[in-house]
Amino acid sequence: GAGVSQSPSNKVTEKGKDVELRCDPISGHTALYWYRQSLGQGLEFLIYFQGNSAPDKSGLPSDRFSAERTGGSVSTLTIQRTQQEDSAVYLCASSLGIEGTQYFGPGTRLLVL
């Protein structure tokens, strides 16, 4: 079956602009996660959803970051007023339940100029 998909695969934006990153999880997976991966760094947890609710937003780096999930499926990560330090690969993963194995998408490479 289809895996986790993310769009766009690459995004170049100017400092101060808003960006939206999209994640389509594996069909039937109730849990969805967002991570950030910077060069030479480990995966940094941002937020996860169980269904449409986000029980843990502790990883969001600032109030410029927000995420939503609708219909228990697609999720959007929004970064407002982007800064150069937001440049990274944003990875989405989904799992059958919160205890399930996480399967990752290919990521969105964000470059803020």
Binding site: T101, F104, P106, G107, R109
Partner: protein
């Protein structure tokens, strides 16, 4: 706080030269330890989950083992296509199920 340390940071092998990657962890109660493979420009690909000390899992040339303090990913007779970054992560019992990831080991296998 959960901690995951992977070593070495980078490893170069000749084709056929077996070796092991290490993942040392500190967690209050281990729910699971995960190994992923990540190719350049791609998302992590799931390899194994280990749950208890003494457990072993194998897939092709890879074998993962687990003790109470660390996990090893053994690579037997590697091929150039095994070149990738290997990530280790741990999830703890109770509270959040969000895994803590290590920084990975970058493996290059030369033909």
């Amino acid at each position: 706080e959960d901690q995951v340390t992977q070593s070495p940071e980078a490893l170069r092998l000749q084709e056929g030269e077996s070796s092991s990657l290490n993942c040392s962890y500190t967690v209050s109660g281990l729910r699971g330890l995960f190994w992923y493979r990540q190719d350049p420009g791609k998302g992590p690909e799931f390899l194994f989950t280990l749950y208890s000390a003494g457990e072993e899992k194998e897939k092709e040339r890879l074998k993962a083992t687990l003790t109470k303090k660390e996990s090893f990913l053994h690579i037997t007779a590697p091929k150039p296509e095994d070149s990738a970054t290997y990530l280790c992560a741990v999830s703890r019992t109770g509270g959040s199920y969000i895994p803590t990831f290590g920084r990975g080991t970058s493996l290059i296998v030369h033909p």
